[in-house]
Symmetry: C2
Subunit: 321 residues, 2 copies
């Protein structure tokens, strides 16, 4: 499966050639024909790289926090990768990467690699691109890889759930919001970070968070809740301790090779399956658009097409027997 060209690119990533790395990430983002071979060559289920997801409502100071975490891990001698994701609206398509400039403090540090990602390009959507970009940065020995997302929609949850450990970042004044967040969104946080803890309203926020835990089933473990201020640096040592302890205790959701592999394969199955089904419909009707015309003309229905798709493999299996 491996072409020598793909192998060349994979080698550049492994040796952490920064330009080669940037090029490969673009290939992944744009669905370049070689991308899959490169990813295949780089994939290592046993990779040790820790991935940290940072999510939460806008205005939570996530970029400042990311900045602090970069500084912490650089201080430990680690190479740090950052993927800043803005899935933007599925309906309109803007991008608000404004205050991410902050992270540019580290832009001149060759051991820090920062990449912004939007929702364009990749067939699997921005979560597909992010999934693959993490593997590329891990193969280039970045550890940790921090994935920061804007917002709390389903896409953001999906992206955050790609990480081994996810921080849900909240700030005072978001208590009402916490109440309207579904239990599920609270549950994606392996660690709940109460940022800007020096501001008024911190007590109320902590109460809202505790109240929301009541929606979590009894047997599930409550995530640690850490107060800090990314701005002043207060409480950050407690946060990094919690991250490290979470990583080593194995409570990090996908800390194991098996969990991570299951997640990646599931996501690829969804993506390729959709591609496949579209091709099969096109095989039969010329294109998906022509299938729609046939339905409108009363010649078939979406449900009959669904049955044709379901029947496709059954027929194939019968022929084989």
């Amino acid at each position: 499966m491996l072409s020598s060209k793909a192998d060349d690119f994979a080698r550049k990533v492994r040796s952490c050639d920064t330009r080669g790395l940037a090029r490969v990430l673009s290939m992944v983002e744009n669905g370049h024909p070689l991308a899959h071979s490169i990813l295949h060559s780089l994939y290592n289920p046993e990779r040790s790289c820790l991935t940290i997801g940072i999510t939460g409502p806008p205005g939570g100071g996530k970029s400042t926090l990311t900045d602090r975490l970069i500084t912490y891990w650089r201080g430990n001698g680690n190479k740090v990768g950052v993927i800043a994701v803005d899935p933007s609206s599925p309906f309109s398509g803007g991008a608000l990467l404004g205050d991410r400039i902050r992270m540019q403090d580290h832009a001149s540090d060759p051991e820090v690699f920062i990449r912004s990602m939007g929702s364009r390009g990749h067939l699997g959507g921005v979560s597909g691109t992010t999934r693959d970009a993490i593997e590329v940065l891990a193969a280039a020995s970045y550890d940790p890889v921090i994935v920061e997302t804007i917002g709390v929609g389903q896409t953001e949850v999906e992206i955050a759930s790609l990480a081994d450990i996810t921080l849900l970042v909240l700030v005072p004044g978001q208590g009402d919001e916490v109440q309207t967040m579904k239990a599920g969104i609270m549950e994606i946080g392996d660690i709940i970070v109460l940022n800007k803890a020096d501001r008024p309203g911190i007590e109320q926020l902590e109460m809202s968070v505790s109240a929301s835990f009541e929606l979590i089933p009894d047997q599930a473990e409550r995530p640690p809740v850490i107060r800090c201020s990314a701005q002043t640096g207060e409480g950050l040592d407690k946060l990094t301790d919690a991250i490290v302890s979470c990583a080593f205790s194995g409570t990090g959701r996908k800390a194991t090779a098996r969990k991570r592999t299951t997640l990646i394969l599931g996501s690829i199955i969804r993506e390729k399956g959709r591609e496949l089904a579209r091709k099969l419909v096109s095989d039969r009707y010329g294109s998906v658009e022509e299938a729609i015309e046939s339905i409108l003309e009363g010649k078939t229905t979406p449900y009959e097409i669904g049955e044709v798709l379901s029947g496709f493999l059954e027929n194939k299996q019968e022929n084989r027997e």
Copy 2:
């Protein structure tokens, strides 16, 4: 494709045999083998039934509003169908159907059919079930069909987007929330309903809504914003006028047969595609779980499996030539 048994069920739905209808909805929900044939028989792209989605954060009085809309359309002599959806958390799985009891005022009215739906059963998830249930109720001559969802997550947005016209329901005190909602979520509302308009904070809410419109691209039409009180009934005439006018002006998102068909086919393609890809992986590796074992043993990677899936149709086409 039609078995006579499926035909029997389809006939019962069309003649609005309530027990037959309930039975078919259960079959749809549980993925019964006959469900697709029944849905195929019932599908009519030109159906005239208006579907109204009602969505918004919890506490917005959506059930009371649904109740009022039922009363309004019953007064016009229409038969009204209601699908109350609680996708619940993808992570935990509770259901909070509490105040929906209210709608039971209409429970004894044979011309009102109310059905609750959770996230279990259907392979396409709750949005797949809802999609199919709408077609069933439409075939049974319910018009309108009201689809009410809890919450504002991606699933709720998906479900609401199945409707011809979607009401986004907000109440005073949710101004902050509106600000953190992404432009996309505001955009799914064909009509923005400011409910509990007799409460303090209504001005501030309306200002937040106006501010959020600034995120919508210029060329897009701003949805009407209607103040009302489902409790007292005030402003409801303006709301029903807006719904009717939206339905007839064709600004309702999927008011056309083409838009609706495109949506339904797209959703079936995603669902069946995933099923197909899982089967193909199982064909080759025994099961998806065994494929994961192979990856962990270093024999393959998720990306190679992805390429196998991509290559599947290409090989098939080559063999044919």
